[in-house]
């Protein structure tokens, strides 16, 4: 079960980064960066 959730987190991160690179509004890009922090920490099983 843990690994299924980690794969979901990884997909979400890829998706967010992908959209961040194509996004034109810099404030939306900042939002994306903020959302990435907890996702990355969970993917690495740090927090």
């Amino acid at each position: 079960m843990l690994y299924v959730y980690l794969v979901l987190v990884a997909l979400l991160i890829v998706n967010i980064v992908w959209n961040m690179l194509r996004e034109k509004d810099v404030f939306v890009q900042v939002d994306a960066a903020l959302v990435l922090v907890p996702l990355i920490l969970r993917l690495l099983l740090i927090k």
């Binding site: 034109k24 810099v26 900042v30 994306a32 922090v37 099983l45």
Partner: protein
């Protein structure tokens, strides 16, 4: 307002670098919670083992935790003290450490687990603003301890179910309680990490024929079960006797029977599923309460809070609460006295023999502070 630029990829790159930097800084902080506070065993400790010795299913996991064995000169009966069931209730861990660093057994055997939910020491509870550590002054320097979470680190057991169903009773609780070790007894060898840990403790009690098990807790001052002993029905006589002696030492404490329909707790399941006398003790900890003000190290150690003083004036609390608060010294003094009185009551009632010596008294811990009985760093 929209700031649209052709250089959005440049912005993205800058932001990604910043994100990485923030992640590194946060990771360093979060990972520092995995560093264990040092414990310096006293001459009474005859052996240091790991909980996985009794159930290998938790070996090399975050649930495995040290078990300190204090074997007496003469054979006798045995007691297990569980500190750190809930690492946001620091008097439990600290009382266990005090035993490890001071106690000497002349008769019987004492087992001490200072970090019962070892994983829960590696994180703090979200949205509590709690400090990660607190320090205690000793005559020869500072000692530090972690202030952890009530439940297993989600990183070690994830995800939580919507509803936690207690395995042996079918009791339904909110999903996050699945990581609360004191809702997981008697545990399961093939269950969650938390259930495996409580199973290991039950196995240890069964294999070592441990006669008395004392689980050390703290509670919010507004919680009804406080300054109390909760005892399984088999342990009621022992607890009543111990309680009388505690009261004679000047401790205000009450006795509550373990509710039969409240499952997963030590005082219910260890009493039902093993032959041990299962009891639990509670003291008053403002730093875990809902009415508290600023949550910092001082609140953990000194236990003073003006909002609790006011709540007491309104008659909303189950313990007296004045400007002096309930410092860690007082809370540890209560736990230690309770443990010693349980051993004494066991002897007095003719149930067996166990003698824990060389421990400071209620008054000594209160007056000199816990730090006076902690070994110096490096000792």
């Amino acid at each position: 307002m929209q700031l649209i630029t052709r250089h959005n990829r440049t912005w993205a790159a800058v932001l990604l670098v910043l994100t990485a930097l923030v992640c590194v800084l946060l990771a360093q902080q979060f990972l520092s919670m995995r560093v264990e506070e040092p414990i310096y065993p006293g001459p009474g400790v005859t052996e240091q083992r790991m909980l996985s010795d009794w159930f290998p299913g938790i070996k090399d996991t975050a649930a495995d935790t040290p078990v300190y064995v204090l074997q007496g000169e003469q054979p006798g009966n045995s007691m297990l003290v569980l500190g750190g069931t809930h690492p946001n209730e620091p008097a439990g861990q600290l009382s266990a450490v005090l035993l490890i660093e001071n106690a000497q057994l002349s008769v019987g055997t004492l087992y001490v687990i200072p970090r019962t939910n070892n994983s829960a020491f590696t994180t703090t509870d979200p949205q509590e603003g709690a400090p990660m550590r607190f320090t205690i002054d000793t005559p020869n320097g500072e000692r530090w301890f972690r202030f952890g979470s009530r439940a297993t680190n989600p990183v070690h057991q994830w995800p939580d179910p919507e509803i936690y169903v207690h395995a042996s009773s079918g009791q339904r609780l909110s999903g996050s309680e699945t990581r609360n070790i004191n809702r997981s007894y008697p545990g399961r060898p093939d269950g969650t990490l938390t259930e495996k840990a409580s199973y290991a403790i039950a196995e240890m009690i069964r294999k070592e024929n441990i006669d008395i098990t004392i689980d050390l807790h703290e509670a919010s001052p507004e919680y009804p079960t406080i300054n109390a002993v909760v005892a399984h029905e088999d342990a009621m006589e022992l607890a009543s006797w111990a309680l009388l002696n505690m009261q004679m030492e000047g401790m205000d404490i009450m006795l509550e029977p373990s509710p039969k329909n409240l499952h997963g707790l030590t005082h219910r399941e260890l009493g039902d599923f093993t032959d041990t006398y299962a009891v639990l003790m509670e003291t008053a900890n403002a730093s875990q309460g809902r009415l508290r003000g600023r949550t910092n190290e001082a609140l953990v150690v000194e236990g003073k809070d003006k909002f609790y003083v006011r709540a007491a004036q309104y008659g909303r609390l189950y313990v007296p609460f004045d400007e002096n608060g309930h410092p860690l010294n007082e809370r540890v003094a209560r736990h230690v006295t309770g443990i010693l009185q349980f051993a004494q009551a066991y002897n007095d009632l003719g149930l067996g023999a166990i003698a824990i010596d060389n421990m400071p008294t209620f008054t000594q811990i209160n007056e000199n502070g816990v730090g006076a009985y902690l070994n110096a760093p490096g000792e």
